[in-house]
């Protein structure tokens, strides 16, 4: 393809089918075949969605949060639909690290092209350390996403993600124990997300992912009850996308760390917004529930966009809008 080619119309794109844009991207020294990943908690460990999409096509599977021991999660109802999105308060139900290492990791290792990112949760710093150390035994795990932002559990999680000093402390502690790079997952439920991003960077975090869900509430007026047993739930879905894009942009301007961007991504156009705002990769979350093929369709859409606009390398799009 000629670099001088200024023709960016659809026909030119369609004619250029025999060149493949370079979709590779890097986060904290880890190279991914493409920037499309899954958002933790929406995709399990990929087993369920493996029936719909070829997991080998994804940049990475980001697993459901895993703790040192099994967690039962919250009472039901755990999910509710809201305009343009949903609320959830699953409460990080998970089988614990032992089962995860024996069952989920070997399953994911079958997909050699797709990297494994494990989401780690805990109630105390020691809980996180225990999980991080266990995961250090498994070289197939490329990156650890540290969940300090789940709004649905009473202890731990978000308590570490809403105060800059607490975030600094847990980040620096985990850095001492982690064999893999660590990516701190930031909460949008803060006054200034850039303050949290700076604290994580100063403590030695290797990357950031954002945003987690936005705390919300829904009341069933007919039963006069909360729609979710936990009363509050984390909101996700297309309705939160503008907030997420804004936060990714702000964080990208504030720190040098690579960003995994997410929040309401439903289409390739949405994903490209996040990348232009500064995300090196993107995660698809609630949209998996709406369209089980969403991840792969978004990947193909990004590729088409790059052909259409003659973008040779994905990295040329990252943070291109300032």
């Amino acid at each position: 393809m000629s670099e001088n080619n200024q023709n960016v119309n659809m026909t030119a794109g369609a004619n250029a089918e025999n060149w493949a844009p370079d979709l590779r991207t890097r986060i904290a020294g880890v190279e991914f075949q493409n920037p499309v990943m899954t958002a933790s908690g929406t995709f399990g460990s990929g087993m369920e969605y493996g029936e719909f999409v070829d997991l080998n096509r994804l940049g990475a599977v980001v697993t459901k949060g895993v703790a040192n021991v099994p967690w039962p999660g919250n009472p039901t109802p755990r999910v509710a639909e809201v305009y343009g999105g949903m609320l959830n308060a699953i409460g990080l139900q998970n089988p614990g690290i032992d089962v995860f290492m024996e069952r989920d990791i070997p399953f994911l290792k079958q997909y050699e092209k797709t990297k494994i990112i494990v989401n780690v949760c805990g109630k105390s710093v020691q809980d996180y350390v225990d999980v991080v150390e266990r995961l250090g035994e498994e070289p197939a795990v490329a990156l650890l996403e540290i969940n300090v932002s789940c709004p649905n559990v009473k202890e731990g999680a978000i308590a570490f993600g809403q105060k800059a000093d607490a975030l600094y402390n847990i980040t620096s502690e985990l850095k001492k124990h982690a064999k893999q790079p660590i990516m701190m997952k930031l909460s949008p439920n803060v006054t200034d997300i850039t303050e949290m991003a700076r604290a994580a960077e100063a403590a030695g975090a290797d990357a950031l992912s954002l945003i987690n869900t936005i705390t919300g509430m829904k009341i069933d007026i007919h039963r006069r009850k909360f729609a979710i047993a936990n009363k509050t739930g984390g909101m996700s879905g297309p309705a939160i996308k503008p907030i997420a894009v804004r936060m990714v942009y702000q964080v990208a301007q504030a720190v040098k760390l690579p960003i995994l961007g997410m929040g309401g991504i439903a289409t390739a156009e949405d994903a490209i917004e996040f990348i232009l705002a500064g995300a090196s990769a993107v995660s698809v979350g609630a949209m998996n529930f709406v369209n089980p093929y969403a991840t792969v369709e978004i990947l193909e859409g990004i590729e088409n966009y790059m052909r259409q606009y003659h973008v040779e390398k994905l990295k040329d799009l990252i943070g291109a809008v300032r």
Partner: protein
């Protein structure tokens, strides 16, 4: 696609789809709205499959904006469904036995395909195993005389009715109908509101018989990934490793003794 209202706010929808090929009684589909502000598929049980297995029938009640939209769909429209989901009823547990099929309200529709399959199976096996013929009794509970699916059910076996207002059959619930008719069973299959399922669980334990009950819960993915629709289990679940099973993929039918309801 064709649709009609068969009782107040209860709609009967036939959808032509190749998914009908593999449907088992008690399975469900996720039905999507066309309004894109409502994202999640609505889990609705399959009522029946047509003879050549090219279409499936769902009978649903308007419960909110999504189902309200469905009720406005016209013949010939194209709609999006996800499925077939869930495991359905364990038919084999009823073969050669005295079986109760118990449905309450909008839990009645999935019992139709189950009744039909039992009826078909009984005919097939009657010759080879005359004394082991399955004896199926349907006991259906309604609010009032709007007994939707009554004629459909009566094609496949003996049906007893209970209505809250006493307008048809026994006045009261499905358990009142059992007592009034002095009938017994070896195994129960049921779908209906939670108070009915709790009562059936207690009755089955009392009688020392198994009861396979179909549960519902608010769902997001429908495929077992999100862990939204769990039910508490007596034992540690094989998949979750906690006392929770997923209604969508481990159910929606559970033996009543296995779940805390």
């Amino acid at each position: 696609m064709t649709q009609k209202e068969i009782a107040p706010a209860i709609f009967d929808l036939w959808i032509k789809t190749e998914l009908a090929k593999d449907v088992k009684p008690g399975q469900f589909v996720g039905v999507f709205t066309k309004d894109k502000s409502a994202l999640l598929p609505r889990p609705i049980s399959i009522c029946e499959v047509n003879a050549d297995r090219t279409a499936l029938r769902i009978v649903y009640r308007i419960a909110g904006q999504g189902t309200k939209e469905f009720s406005g769909w016209q013949a010939g429209e194209e709609v999006q469904i996800l499925g077939v989901l869930g495991n359905g009823f364990p038919l084999e547990k009823g073969k050669g036995k005295k079986v109760f099929l118990m449905g309450g309200g909008i839990g009645i529709p999935p019992m139709l395909e189950l009744a039909k399959e039992f009826a078909a199976d009984a005919k097939q096996t009657a010759a080879e195993c005359a004394d082991g013929k399955t004896d199926v009794r349907c006991i259906m509970g309604y609010r009032d005389s709007k007994t939707f699916l009554k004629e459909d059910l009566e094609q496949y076996g003996r049906v007893y009715f209970a209505t809250e207002d006493g307008s048809v059959g026994t006045k009261g619930n499905v358990l009142d109908a059992i007592r009034e008719n002095a009938i017994t069973a070896d195994v129960i299959f049921a779908c209906g509101p939670m108070p009915m399922l709790r009562a059936i669980k207690a009755y089955a334990q009392d009688q020392g018989i198994p009861a396979y009950i179909s549960l519902e819960e608010h769902m997001a993915c429908g495929v077992g990934a999100c862990l939204g629709c769990v039910v508490k289990t007596k034992e540690v679940d094989h998949h979750s490793h906690v006392h929770n099973a997923r209604i969508c993929t481990d159910g929606p039918v559970f033996e009543a003794g296995e779940v805390e309801i």
